[in-house]
């Protein structure tokens, strides 16, 4: 795996490779999504206490999972880029951030849509909700920092550093929020009241998670290609590409 990355870690070799990979992931994403949605909406049984509304978790839960997972991956790339002083990992981190933020937002929105029927309130200060919100802030901070530094090399390093600091803090934050929440027990509603996970439901969620996963990869690759072109416009291989593209057009 790593070997591969080192082999392909130079933009001009990675660019076409990414181009070839994107369609596959895109297709995989849509197929998984179709099956997953079918299962979750038609096969999965209606929950007796929550009615149809509960079907939101088929989007909500995977989104929440992704939101946290992507941040870790992002930080991983950032660390790699910082330690190797290589360009590609930094670009990957930068490309992942928006997707992660979007999934976080998705988890928040779907969650609150679910919360309305569940708890009669759009929002409660539950531990998981709160930490998800904070996660959103961390994403936004990363994006804001990178977008407000214009020298890309600088932006990469600064962003990477921030991501690492964030990763160190995430568990501390999560723990402290949970603790805070338990201190104020009683008033808050736990999400434990969720329906028992029937295997079909689990299957649906896993499929949706896979779909999100593929989607993430595909989108990240696309974004990385754009970033490459933008960053390396001066370099020869981009010029050649644009020339040949012009020739074809």
């Amino acid at each position: 795996m790593n070997i591969n990355w080192f082999k392909y870690s130079s933009p001009q070799t990675f660019y076409p490779l990414a181009g070839r990979m994107i369609p596959w992931f895109a297709w995989a994403a849509s197929i998984f999504a179709v099956i997953g949605l079918y299962i979750s909406f038609f096969i999965a049984p209606t929950d007796f206490q929550q009615g149809e509304a509960y079907r939101i978790i088929f989007v909500h839960v995977p989104a929440a999972w992704m939101s946290m997972f992507i941040y870790m991956v992002m930080a991983g790339w950032a660390a790699l880029g910082l330690s190797l002083n290589a360009r590609l990992p930094a670009m990957m981190a930068q490309a992942l951030a928006p997707t992660g933020a979007i999934f976080t937002l998705l988890a928040l929105v779907t969650g609150s849509f679910w919360g309305k029927p569940m708890w009669g309130a759009w929002w409660v200060w539950d531990a998981r909700l709160t930490s998800e919100l904070i996660l959103l802030f961390l994403y936004l901070g990363f994006i804001a920092l990178q977008s407000s530094i214009d020298d890309p090399r600088k932006a990469d390093k600064a962003g990477a550093l921030l991501a690492l600091v964030g990763v160190v803090n995430v568990p501390i934050i999560y723990f402290s929020v949970k603790w805070w929440n338990t201190l104020h027990q009683g008033s808050t509603i736990s999400m434990g009241a969720a329906p028992k996970m029937v295997t079909t439901m689990l299957l649906g969620m896993l499929l949706m998670a896979l779909a999100f996963w593929m989607y993430t990869i595909a989108v990240a690759l696309m974004r990385v290609r754009c970033i490459m072109l933008e960053r390396e416009r001066a370099s020869d291989w981009v010029k050649e590409r644009s020339l040949s593209a012009g020739g074809n057009a």
Partner: protein, 222 residues
């Protein structure tokens, strides 16, 4: 002169668009500060909704105030303020242009985001409406008054805090009327009185503040 007015306005908007992050940050600051309080105070909806008007207004006020430092600072440090002063235009007009741009960039987004956060504080719908209205009427006054402070503290190290010091006392009436309006509608009373007072205050500062700001600018550039 009209053209110069438009120029300044356009240029500042353009600058803001160049650095979208600036707009965003004001917004997120508001968002974050507003979400800090439950972490400090505890999640009970009852308590939260009772303190919501105060907290949200204070948050909006702080967000607006933080963005003040940027209103003239860059013009000052790169010398384009000198150019504004020696321009054959009435300075107060230019000031109004800058303040307007600043409000659109930093004030308006907060007004629009406020309802979302109101939801987090379990505010009822009509209270949300009043919240938006009060912010819409109040924040211009904040920008206008803030401009004076920003102008006075130009070139002073750590002006951010100094501005806070100068400006916050002047903000207090706005805060009281604004938060009062929301609280009133929360308790099922009419908020008209508060709102009209807010509007009056904004108008007053629209008339007076630009001249004060212009004077302050001349002083701190000399």
């Amino acid at each position: 002169m009209n053209r110069a007015w438009v120029t300044i306005f356009k240029r500042d908007i353009l600058l803001a668009l160049r650095r979208r992050s600036d707009v965003a940050t004001t917004l997120f600051f508001f968002l974050i500060v507003a979400s800090l309080f439950p972490l400090g105070i505890g999640p009970e909806p009852a308590v939260l909704s009772s303190i919501a008007p105060g907290v949200l207004w204070v948050a909006a006020l702080l967000a607006g105030m933080l963005s003040l430092t940027r209103m003239f600072a860059s013009d000052f440090s790169d010398g384009s303020l000198e150019q504004m002063l020696i321009a054959p235009q009435p300075l107060p007009m230019l000031v109004i242009a800058k303040v307007l741009a600043h409000w659109i960039v930093c004030g308006l987004p907060v007004v629009l985001l406020a309802p979302m956060i109101g939801l987090q504080y379990a505010l009822p719908n009509d209270a949300l409406l009043v919240l938006v209205l009060s912010l819409l009427l109040g924040t211009p006054a904040l920008s206008l008054i803030g401009a004076i402070g920003a102008a006075l503290t130009l070139g002073v190290r750590g002006s951010g805090l100094l501005i806070a010091l100068l400006v916050l006392p002047l903000y207090i009436p706005v805060l009281i009327f604004g938060a009062g309006a929301v609280a009133a509608s929360q308790h099922g009373m009419s908020a008209e009185a508060h709102l009209s007072l807010l509007a009056a205050f904004s108008l007053l500062s629209l008339v007076l503040a630009p001249f004060a700001t212009a004077a302050a600018l001349r002083i701190s550039v000399e």
